[in-house]
């Protein structure tokens, strides 16, 4: 046994007596489980491939059909518009919640309580049927004053508008919690340092607090975005013309239910995968000096697991 200082150059050829066998041990339990899982997977694939009830020719025919693309485009539009409005609402409501004014604070809490406390599906149907409550929307003097100009509600609130209203107002309630957590994660010393330089409240918020809050806000927000891509399928109940709606219209005519659901699912997977890649780059952009450089593949795999992504983010 030698007690001399470790010689780094000798790493390739350690002394015979000090070598360590780094080959992995054989774990019988793990191996057995893997064999079982592999068997189930192969069997599942086999049953799907040989199943005569899955009409691959129909899937191939519709996968790139014009009508499917129109639904895909509506889904993308709904997601982006609803997320943008939802984020703006979220920032406003978060600032209200952190305000020292009681009215602002409780109004924000009321909004969050209501829109998180009722199902999104119910809210969508509600917005779609807004005309039953308010037959006309108009610009008028409040509290029963004269009407300046107005429209039939049914002409203004189309199913697309109802979908955007429902999705964005609901999203705003969730986003406000994400934004608030981000703002609160900025150490109070940052605000003090900015104030001691003579910055105004607005400058402190926009130049010091919000950019730092973004690092906390971005990861859950991109999860919300990916979630929104899939949530838009709910608007099929109000004939939203999105991907699922057009798929449904097709299979109601030709009864190819499974084939068209597979067509839609493939496009949903493409969307979430592309969004996951985008998420990787956005998150990297907002943490330039952090070395959180997980591979794109890891991000995609993470987003395939429901619910786990966020917990990993906290870890």
């Amino acid at each position: 046994m030698s007690l001399s200082a470790p010689n780094t150059t000798a790493a390739a050829a350690p002394e015979p007596g000090l070598a360590i066998d780094h080959r992995r041990r054989f774990h019988a339990g793990r191996a057995a489980s893997a064999v079982v899982v592999l068997f189930v997977l192969v069997w599942l694939c086999y049953t799907v491939i040989v199943n005569p009830n899955i009409h691959w020719d129909v899937i191939a025919k519709y996968q790139f059909a014009h009508v499917i693309f129109s639904g895909l485009w509506v889904t993308i539009q709904l997601t982006i518009i609803s997320m943008v409005i939802g984020i703006l609402i979220g920032i406003a409501v978060a600032v209200m919640q952190l305000s020292e004014n009681v009215v602002l604070r409780y109004s924000a809490t009321l909004y969050i309580w209501f829109f998180r406390g009722t199902p999104l599906l119910v809210q969508l149907i509600f917005w779609f049927n807004l005309a039953l409550l308010f037959p006309r929307v108009s610009i008028a003097v409040p509290f029963g004053g004269p009407e300046l100009t107005g429209w039939q509600t049914n002409q203004v609130v189309t199913s697309f508008v109802a979908a955007v209203l429902g999705l964005s107002i609901n999203e705003g309630a969730y986003m406000s919690q994400i934004v608030r957590a981000g703002i609160q994660a900025v150490p109070p010393g940052q605000r003090e340092a900015a104030e001691s330089l003579g910055m105004s409240g607005r400058q402190v918020f926009s130049r010091v607090v919000l950019p730092q809050a973004m690092r906390v806000i971005i990861p859950p927000t991109s999860n919300q975005f990916i979630s929104m891509l899939k949530t838009t399928s709910l608007v099929s109940v109000i004939a939203g013309a999105d991907l699922l709606t057009v798929a449904q219209h097709l299979y109601l005519a030709n009864f190819e239910v499974i084939a068209l659901l597979i067509v839609a699912s493939i496009w949903y997977l493409v969307l979430t995968t592309v969004a996951s890649v985008g998420q990787y780059y956005v998150e990297r952009h907002y943490s330039p000096e952090r070395s959180d450089r997980r591979s794109v593949g890891a991000r995609i795999r993470r987003n395939m697991r429901p619910g786990l992504g966020r917990m990993e983010e906290l870890a």
Binding site: P187, G189, Q190, E192, A193, A194, E195, S196, L197, G198, M199, S200, G201, Q203, R207, V208, P211, Q212, R215, P288, E289
Partner: protein, 272 residues
């Protein structure tokens, strides 16, 4: 005075006096809930003076410093900076808090250095120093950059301008924080235990920058535990205990010949 105020005559009367103090504190009281933190503080700092504040933790020294640039509000008393009532306005015989939009202009002339540096982590060294002049003073980018580089040169950080705060040691961060405060061309610099969060071997660099500042005639109020710095650089040493100024005088006198038992006890613990 950049801030127009109702008590302009009062301002000019005070600044007009020969040798008027840059900082005047009169009867300042402050409590957090039921805890009385400041219990009637009187203090004068003349231009160019370095005043060191020492005392046990909880004696109110940091709170007093934070009251000077109104990071904390005061319950009673008056603070004048450069002859101007800080954070308050006299109108119709009543004294009321100034709106924050006007307090911020008063703060421009007071630099502050924090125990935990509080550099902006999302900005580089250079951007941290440029931020105040550009955002608050509306200075042109080129000029702000030139002045920031000069400030960083002065604190010995000119070779780290593209580093983020997270890539710097505590001592380096604190020197950048001093440059950030100096970039606003303040009349007064406040230091809140600037070396307390530093590893011992890094304290010297920060103190050297502060000594350099003092030599150049900067008015400084320093809350510190560095008795060597107080003795060497300070013009006045203040010992605070239980929210009052228990003892003050020339640092050498207070340190070697304290008048109160509590000062003696404190110094014997700190000086070993």
């Amino acid at each position: 005075m950049t801030v127009p105020s109702a008590n302009a005559s009062l301002d000019s009367a005070r600044t007009g006096q020969l040798g008027a103090p840059l900082v005047r504190v009169e009867g300042v009281r402050k409590s957090f809930g039921r805890v009385q933190v400041l219990n009637g503080i009187d203090l004068d700092v003349t231009a160019g003076q370095v005043v060191c504040i020492i005392g046990p933790s909880g004696s109110g020294k940091s709170t007093l410093l934070r009251c000077l640039n109104r990071l904390e509000t005061i319950d009673a008393g008056r603070i004048w900076i450069d002859g101007e009532l800080m954070g308050l306005e006299e109108r119709n015989g009543r004294v009321r808090p100034l709106p924050t939009s006007r307090v911020r202009h008063q703060r421009e002339r007071i630099g502050m250095v924090f125990q935990n540096f509080n550099l902006f982590p999302h900005r580089t060294t250079l951007e941290n120093v440029m931020e105040g002049p550009i955002v608050v003073k509306g200075m042109a980018r080129n000029r702000a950059k030139a002045e920031a580089l000069a400030m960083l040169e002065r604190v010995g950080m000119a070779d780290r301008i593209d580093h983020y705060p997270g890539q710097l040691s505590g001592g380096q961060q604190q020197r950048v924080a001093i440059a950030r405060a100096l970039a606003m061309a303040p009349r007064l610099m406040l230091f809140d235990e600037p070396t307390s969060a530093l590893d011992p071997e890094l304290v010297g660099d920060v103190l050297a920058v502060m000594k350099d500042l003092a030599r150049d005639g900067m008015t400084m109020v320093v809350v510190t535990h560095e008795m060597g710095f107080a003795r060497e650089v300070g013009d006045k040493l203040i010992f605070m205990d239980d929210g009052i100024v228990l003892e003050q005088g020339h640092p050498a006198d207070v340190l070697s010949n304290p008048q109160h038992d509590r000062t003696r006890t404190f110094l014997s613990r700190v000086l070993k």
